[in-house]
Assembly symmetry: C2
Homo-oligomer: 184 residues x 2
DNA sequence: CCGGAGAACTTAACATGTTAAGCAAATTTC
DNA sequence: GAAATTTGCTTAACATGTTAAGTTCTCCGG
């Protein structure tokens, strides 16, 4: 978020802005261009990508998350809820709600494991599979277009970097989990 | 949540998995490795980053979005709601709600423009400014740590690529806005 | 066995994402 | 210059994100 990397701040008055900004920047913390922080960059990039897919999914009555779930289910025969949450990258509560709805729409099937009654086993239904097959072509076409526009090589490179970023931070322990932070 | 995932092991009969997966993959569409799609990569990367900031923000009673708004407000004297939405990358309705809450907490001030009664002008309050100043140090430290772990050079490179991706897709018109999709 | 600790979800509660309406003020059109 | 249109928000409604509790069911030590 706050991403300032170079608060060194060029003092030079911002040439042609509506002068209020110059005033504000002068008397306030010269934090770095907020919009260039890593979180914002990632957010905007992802939105730019998802913006391409949402209309198509919407036309088929699916949200992004529902699609992720169905999509993940096509790769397995059955999967436990916790595993599915990990794969589809959804928090338990969200998944719980979505599965309830998808089941009501007969897009998935669910049953409890016989070995452990706490666990639920989920699988896609034939109706769900048909839906996936109906959406997939458009989805693939969009993905191909994105790849073409950005460049396959660069895309692969970007994904490598994203993976590296993930791994870099995986080990980074999260600060002040519950305290009120030393100062202030 | 989420994290490494290693389901579906290509076509090769997955040596040690519970064999159901292999079966599923064999009889179903061999779609792209779901977890390696660009949207998922971006989502996981962003989550890995935000995971570092949320606890600190939470300790100060702020959500990620509220922080974005206050953060954006420190860069200007006043700003119109629509402009703020653009800068903080929030949709109008979300912003509308959040501003209502932030105003109730006296973290921001709002008034209508005299020239155009439809427009609202927002600015951060002294209380809001104090809050920002209280959070900023921790936030900056986390950002610095992330930069250190991933590498300043690579970080800059990553952000360049993200910006490029954004620009690549900016011109890409969104398909089938409202139709039911030719077929497929 | 039995009771407590832990695991696997599910519910609850509140905040935001997302699309569609609603509304009042400003602008355009005829 | 009044009606039609557009603009700048705000509401509404529904889905998901996020954290805390609650509910069953397992498992484990005594």
């Amino acid at each position: 978020m706050g991403g300032p990397l170079k608060m060194s701040g060029k003092k030079s008055p911002n040439g042609s802005r509506s002068d209020q900004e110059g005033t504000a920047e002068a008397r306030r913390a010269p934090m770095r261009e907020f919009s260039r922080s890593l979180p914002m960059s990632l957010l905007r990039a992802r939105e730019a990508v998802m913006r391409q897919f949402r209309p198509s999914l919407r036309n088929h009555g699916l949200t992004e998350q529902q699609w992720r779930i169905l999509r993940a289910l096509t790769a397995v025969d059955t999967i436990e809820v916790t595993e599915l949450a990990r794969v589809a990258f959804l928090l338990g509560p969200s998944l719980s709600r979505i599965l309830r709805d998808l089941e009501a729409r007969d897009l998935i099937e669910r049953r409890t494991a016989k070995a452990d009654l706490r666990r639920g086993e989920v699988s896609i239904s034939s109706k769900g599979l048909k839906l996936i097959e109906a959406v997939a072509p458009t989805s693939e076409a969009i993905y191909a277009e994105i790849t073409h526009r950005f460049g396959a090589r660069k895309l692969a490179e970007l994904q490598d970097m994203l993976g590296e970023l993930e791994r870099s931070l995986a080990a980074m322990e999260v600060a002040g989990e519950g305290e009120a932070e030393a100062d202030e």
